[in-house]
Each structure stands twice: as C-alpha cells, then as structure tokens.
C-alpha cells in the first residue's frame, strides 16, 4: 500500500521498534497517530516527526484496558481520518526476570493477554469495520520468534504472540475479500529496552537496530506481493530492503 498521506495508528510508539517505525513512516509521509501508556514519552517522537515536516499526534492509552479502545479509535480518526494502516506494536512481556509457567501468576498471564491479544482484537474490531466498508486497509501485528518456538521462561509472552499470529490469519481470511490485508511480522532480536528487560546479559552488538527493522517493515507494508495472512520474518528480509 501507499504510505504517503495514509492515516496510520501505531501502538507502543514511544520507544523501541514503535518509535523507529513512527520515524520511518513519518519520513515517508504517513499521517500518524502514536499511542503509548505514557503520553509524555511520545512528545519527543512527535516533535521529531513534526520538525521534519511530518504529521504526528500523541494519544495516551493503555491498550490492555477495555475502556480505552473506543476513545482511542475515535480520537485517532477525528485527527487523521479513517485509519487505513493499523500497527499493533505495543507489547507486554510480563514480570521480569521472566518466569517458568509454574511460577507465573494467573493475573500476570491475564495482563499479558490483555495487552498482546485482547487489546489488538478490540482495536481492530473497532477500526476494521470501517476498513471492510471502505474496502481498503492493512493491519500489522508485531509478533515474535517466541510465537513459533517454545522457550523456557517465555510462556506468557509466547502464548500471547502465538495467538496474535493466528488472530492475524483469521482477520485475513474473513476480511480479504473486502480488500483488507492482515499480516504478522517477527522483527527478530533488536537492541531495545524490552530485549534488555528480558535478556539483560545479551551481547548488544549482535542485536539489530530498530531503525533497520523499521525500514524493512515499511517495505513489507508497501509491498503488494505478500500473501494476505502471511507471517513475515524481518530478520531474513534484509536482502530486499
């Protein structure tokens, strides 16, 4: 899809991949609504995009909170028009250090599912109806390697991402005929605060920079040749980017 002038909503946009993606899509002319639980943390990102001549608005919302979703979607469409590109990037790791499933509190799993699965479902449900009516739109789910590989201690996070991948596929099956695309992306290991929280001893020099992955994701969004419902590993798309 065309990125320039596209009404775009990115969750979890104050840091890491979300921030990098906001800067990349802002550079490419998207009309951006950026979302974070911490509104103040969005301000520097918004200012950088505006200073470069782009359009960005900051909305504070907790994606894991049911009551936040309608106000968020409405404010976003009031600011930039009906959303054509929806990027579910906000993510909750759960308590760190990461825990074995047997040590995971039910409430912690619920919180991870609320942010990583229910939140994206609720937000898509509010926004994708308009996409289906208007017969255009793209929904991107930021997933993880942990959604397909089972790692000890990553239980809550990985089951949420596995479900998110499948949520993406079902959206594609149900909305494909109405011109709506849905896919999930595995960004690979990046040098972010979340990665540091999960794996504090990792060698950062081996990790990809979020800006590099964001540029690859922008290419994926622009591409018209990717099958609807696909799961794409961005760490292996370097050659095309």
């Amino acid at each position: 899809m065309e990125i320039s002038r596209t009404a775009t909503l990115i969750t979890g946009a104050s840091r890491g991949l979300g921030e990098a993606l906001a800067l990349e899509l802002g550079r490419q002319g998207a009309r951006l609504v950026l979302v974070s639980r911490h509104g103040a943390a969005l301000e520097p990102v918004v200012h950088r995009i505006r200073d470069a001549g782009g359009e960005a608005h900051a909305l504070e919302a907790d994606i894991g909170s049911k009551d936040a979703i309608y106000p968020l979607a409405a404010a976003a469409t009031a600011l930039v028009g009906p959303i054509d590109l929806l990027i579910h990037n906000a993510s909750e790791l759960g308590p760190t250090p990461l825990r074995l499933l047997l040590d995971t509190e039910c409430e912690d799993l619920e919180r991870v599912l609320a942010v990583n699965l229910l939140g994206p479902f609720r937000l898509s449900r509010v926004i994708a109806g308009s996409m289906a009516l208007r017969e255009r739109g793209t929904i991107v789910h930021v997933s993880s390697d942990a959604s397909v590989n089972a790692y000890s201690h990553w239980g809550a996070y990985s089951v949420s991402k596995a479900a998110l991948d499948h949520l993406s596929r079902v959206w594609a099956v149900e909305l494909g005929e109405r011109g709506v695309r849905s896919f999930s992306v595995d960004p690979g290991e990046m040098d972010t605060a979340m990665h540091a929280a999960a794996l504090p001893d990792a060698d950062r020099s081996t990790l990809a920079q979020p800006s590099v992955i964001a540029a690859r994701l922008a290419n994926v969004i622009r591409s018209t040749s990717i099958a609807n419902g696909a799961r794409i590993e961005l760490s292996s798309t370097g050659a095309q980017s």
Binding site: H57, Y70, A75, G81, I83, S130
Partner: protein, 350 residues
Amino acid sequence: MKPATRPRARGERERLLVIDPTADGFGEYSIDDLPQFLAKGDALVLNDAATLPASLRAGPELEVRLMSQLEGNIWLALCLGRGDHRMPTEERGTPPSLVVGSELSFGYGLSARVCRVDPDSPRLLEIEFQQQGAPLWQALYRAAAPIQYAYLSEPLALWDVQNAYAARPWAVEPPSAGKPLRFETLFRIAARGIALAHVTHAAGLSSTGDPALDARLPVAERYEVSEESAARLRAIRDNGGRIVAVGTSVTRALESASASGTLRAGSRHTDLRLGPGSKLRFCDGLLTGLHEPTTSHFSLLEAYAPRALLDRSFRHAERAGYLQHEFGDSCLILKGALTQEVDSIRTHAA
C-alpha cells in the same frame, strides 16, 4: 409504541417491518432477512459517522449537549438545567443564563468559552473549546458521556452507541438505523452483488425538551460524500440500480448532495427538511428505526410512503409489540419489496 429501554442483548431477535408503497401493504420479517429485499446492482448506503460522547457537565446546574460542529473548535450547543438523563428533557430545570465570554469548565482539562447566545433562546449557544488537536479529543472522551433519554434504564457506554462500521466521530446521537446490521448480514448483502456504500453525516439531537427549539430541528448538520462514493452511486443509479439509504441521515445527505440534479461529492452542511410531498431525487428506499409519528424523523418517512400506509403499518407494529427508538426494531420502506413483479425488475437490473 413501547420504547426499547436498553441496548439489545447478543442474539436477541431484531424485527423488520417491510413497507411496500407499490403494494400498499406491509409484512413482518427479521433484520437478517434484509438481503432478500435487495437485488444485484442495488446499493445499500450506510452512515459511517461514529457517535461522540456529546453530553458535558459544567456543575450540577448545567449540562451542555453538543449539537453540531460549526467550524474548527466552535460548536452549536444546547443547555439543560438541573437533573440528568433519567428525567424527561422537558422537565429539566432552567439552566443558568450565560453570556458571551462565559467560561465553561467540564473537568479533565476540558473548557470552552461562550461565543454566541441565540437571540430567541438563551439555551442555544455557540461555544469554542479552548483545547485543540489530540489534547481536545482526549479530554472530550474523558469528560463527556453519550447523550441519552429518560426511556433508557441504564447509563450507556460508548460502544452501545456505535455502529459496527463507524469511523470519524461526527454524530452527537447515534445514526441508529445501522445499529442492528451485523457484518454477517452486510457481507451476505455484498455477496449478492449489492454495493455497500457510505456517506458521513453528523446526525444531530433528536429532542431539546423545548417545543420552540424542537421546531428548529434538525439544525444544519455536516455531511460528506467522498468522490469515490459519489462516482460509484451515480454509476449504480445510471444502471438502474436502486439506492437504499440506511437512516434518515443518509437520506438527508444524499438528497442534499443531489439537489442540483446530480450527486456531487464534497463536504458541506445541510438543513434540508424532507416530508410529505418532498420529491426524492436520489433515494429509492429507506431502512430506519421506528419512531413516534410526531417527530421530524417520521415526517421524513412520508417522503417515501403515503401517511395512510405508514399509519396503518405502525399501528400494526405497535399492536405486534415492536419497539421504538435507537435500540428498537427496524423498518424498510421500499417500493416493490413485497410484490411478485419485483423479481422481474431484479432480473432486469441484474
């Protein structure tokens, strides 16, 4: 007719009264039967406006209801006095008198300044919000609640007043004709070769509690027909397809946009009133809720069907226990909907 006193529960049956002016008759169906009354080549036109929380409180003595966005941060607004939505609007207290320059504080960092008081009614104001952009929208959604009336038993949540396909928050009351439409039904309609099209119309207040002000409803409301929708609907019309409006707001938008004889794209305000004797230029049919025969809404129905037939159909609906208002049952007014001949028209249109 009895009002629906709450949003429908999941799976609850929603009734559809089909009124056919050609057959001079009516029939009883379910909303899930809607696709069978439309034919390949027709269009179903939806109002994709989302509904704002448009009720703001500035203390116990003053409720401000947003009526229509005039320009930028300036809104036409209605003042109501002591009481809340559980009290019939006409029984609400007299609001404090406001003058140009009065500051209104709604909490959550949202405030407005009065910039005009209507010369005929001190309850009708133009107010300008002091915030803008993202801070305005965030504060509005924190401070305001959906407008609701005394026949509803419980406070409404924001999702109670949204249609499944809503996008920009332009409406101050729900364009409720679309409320019973589930995507299961909409996708079945699309699969039959019927176009799903949309306009955006800022559906306004249905009641002010003051007969003199009610007589001025609907006030000028903003609407938009995109280039894409206009071209598509013109082509459908030119090919003999029928245009079925979902809601009186869609009728007003399409009839306003085609006042020159051809449907024009664009974003404008309209104060068009339709009623008995109005000639519809663009719309052939209407899917709508059921409302009191005294309202401007009912008057618009008379542009689609003769009063005698409407009266007869609605008397039956009342006896048969149909429910009225925004969470009530539906009615489709469409010429030929119930006649055999329509099949040949459909075949021809196909």
